[in-house]
């Protein structure tokens, strides 16, 4: 079986459809396409052996193909509040950098995430965070505050968490108990854009921590594979449900590691999605749970593992 690896193609608009066709012909999937003026960015999964071929064909078009470890993941960047203390610099810069590595990020500003004594998480915030592949918590400057607040802010969260804060990594490891999947120290409340070299290094460190965490999840998934590869299901849904082409969201269907988020209202569209045939009489309802999302009234599709369905398409 060919291994699909996440890559980003960056190039000009001119003849970029050739690259899209090529990825399609090679059996790859385009998860996200951005057109910004004269530039095109394609986040895609392509067969590992064919990367060189894509590079070769992209060369005369001045396109570049780079590894993008986070393609096909949806990450929540959780900031304790929506006040100027937390936004925009730290949270937005972190989210933007994760996006450059291919992730689809959503920023979640908690309504009561501040203060040691009163910090809390409501059930809607908890559920929305849990709909992601991973959550990055952007915490502040003081060790004492992180120690007291974090246990409350993580209550009920079962997705992997990466914590950022001003205390160094070792301190974060010591004070965050039970441990989380990733730590990035030296990033606290910053009132300016990340621009100094030591700050930019922290952003790279964050991407490393996040990809390491997600790789571990991918390895676990490989032991009991999903019944269908999410980008494949994404392509099927986009092809058959034509209303998706009319949505104005940047990612009308968002690929996650274990499912998809379809940005159509649940009630009218869920039955149609459930009964959509994937291959030979197998419908989406057979291999996945189609549930309402806590984010607006979207649809969340969770693909079941092979061990549960005994189907692999």
């Amino acid at each position: 079986m060919t291994t699909l690896v996440p890559v980003t193609f960056k190039g000009g608009v001119y003849r970029h459809d050739e690259i899209m066709d090529l990825i399609d012909d090679l059996g790859g999937y385009i998860v996200q396409k951005h057109v910004m003026a004269q530039d095109v960015v394609l986040q895609s999964f392509v067969p590992r052996d064919d990367i060189e071929l894509i590079r070769e064909i992209a060369k005369p078009l001045a396109g570049t193909v780079t590894e993008a470890p986070l393609v096909g993941t949806e990450i929540a960047v959780v900031s304790p509040s929506l006040e100027i203390h937390h936004l925009p610099h730290t949270s937005c810069d972190l989210a933007e950098y994760l996006r450059r590595s291919g992730a689809k990020t959503n920023m979640i500003g908690l309504s009561r995430g501040f203060g040691k004594r009163i910090a809390n998480l409501n059930d809607e915030e908890r559920d929305v965070i849990n709909e992601h592949d991973l959550a990055v918590y952007t915490l502040g400057n003081f060790e004492e505050c992180i120690r007291q607040k974090f246990p409350v802010l993580r209550q009920g969260i079962h997705v992997p968490i990466v914590v950022t804060g001003a205390p160094d990594r070792e301190t974060l490891v010591r004070i965050v108990d039970p441990p989380v999947e990733g730590y990035v120290g030296g990033v606290g409340r910053i009132m300016h854009r990340f621009k100094r070299p030591e700050e930019l290094v922290k952003l790279d460190e964050l991407v490393d921590e996040v990809s390491r965490t997600l790789d571990a999840r991918r390895d676990a998934l490989a032991r009991d594979p999903l019944s269908v590869f999410p980008p494949r299901l994404m392509a099927i849904i986009e092809e058959r449900i034509h209303e998706i082409s009319m949505l104005t969201h940047p990612t009308p269907v968002t690929a996650q590691m274990e499912g998809l988020r379809v940005k159509l209202p649940y009630d009218p569209y869920a039955p149609a999605i459930r009964s959509l045939e994937v291959v030979d009489g197998i419908t989406i309802g057979d291999i996945a749970d189609v549930t309402p999302s806590r984010m607006r009234n979207y649809i969340l599709i969770r693909i079941k593992p092979f061990s549960e369905t005994r189907i692999l398409v």
Partner: protein, 194 residues
């Protein structure tokens, strides 16, 4: 770092102390207050929890009077205000309207305001206060301190008069003697008494 004559951030948490130094510098720069604040001492202890800032302003800009930006020429029939700088034209018109009534204030062109003679003395008009830049400055300084203080610290006490200002904030109720116990020593460190 801004060219303040005295700038100290004090905290038992060394990482937090450094971060706050940078935050305060960024905020003061962003809000263009570096030239306004002369001395600033910040104390933060997240364990108490308490955030206290005390400082001194440089000389406050004085109130703007008509004479600062316009010539007052009284004639037999009318008084003509010849505007040199338009910056304060809008507040000037507001003040004149309120004082003498809209029907008595005529503005034939951008740089001229005409009043009927005898409505006001030349001297009185010349000294008429139009705007007070210090007023918004006080708000800006307090806003900056709110901005610098940790976000959860919603209970606060603030003071700004003449050149001195302080801002104390906490998550919990502030004790009644907080100014004497915490703020006054900060002023002492800067060589000033509150």
């Amino acid at each position: 770092m801004p060219p303040l004559n005295y700038f100290v951030v004090e905290s038992p948490d060394s990482v937090g102390r450094e971060a706050y130094e940078r935050i305060a510098a960024d905020v003061l720069q962003d809000l263009d207050l570096v030239k306004v604040i002369d001395r600033l001492h910040i104390f933060v202890d997240p364990k108490v929890p308490i955030f206290a800032a005390a400082g001194l302003l440089r000389h406050m800009p004085r109130a703007i009077r008509v004479g600062d930006f316009a010539n007052v020429n009284s004639g037999e029939k009318e008084i003509v205000l010849d505007i040199g700088d338009e910056t304060y034209l809008a507040p000037l018109l507001r003040v004149l309207w309120a004082r003498y009534g809209k029907e008595n204030v005529d503005q034939p062109d951008r740089f001229t305001v005409v009043l009927p003679a005898g409505l006001a003395g030349e001297e009185e008009l010349d000294r008429l206060v139009v705007a007070d830049p210090g007023e918004s400055l006080h708000k800006d300084v307090i806003y900056a301190l709110q901005y610098i203080a940790p976000e959860g610290f919603k209970v606060r006490r603030q003071y700004i008069r003449d050149e001195k200002f302080y801002y104390v904030a906490s998550e919990d109720t502030l004790p009644g003697d907080i100014v004497e116990k915490v703020v006054a020593p900060l002023f002492t460190k800067m060589g000033v008494t509150l």
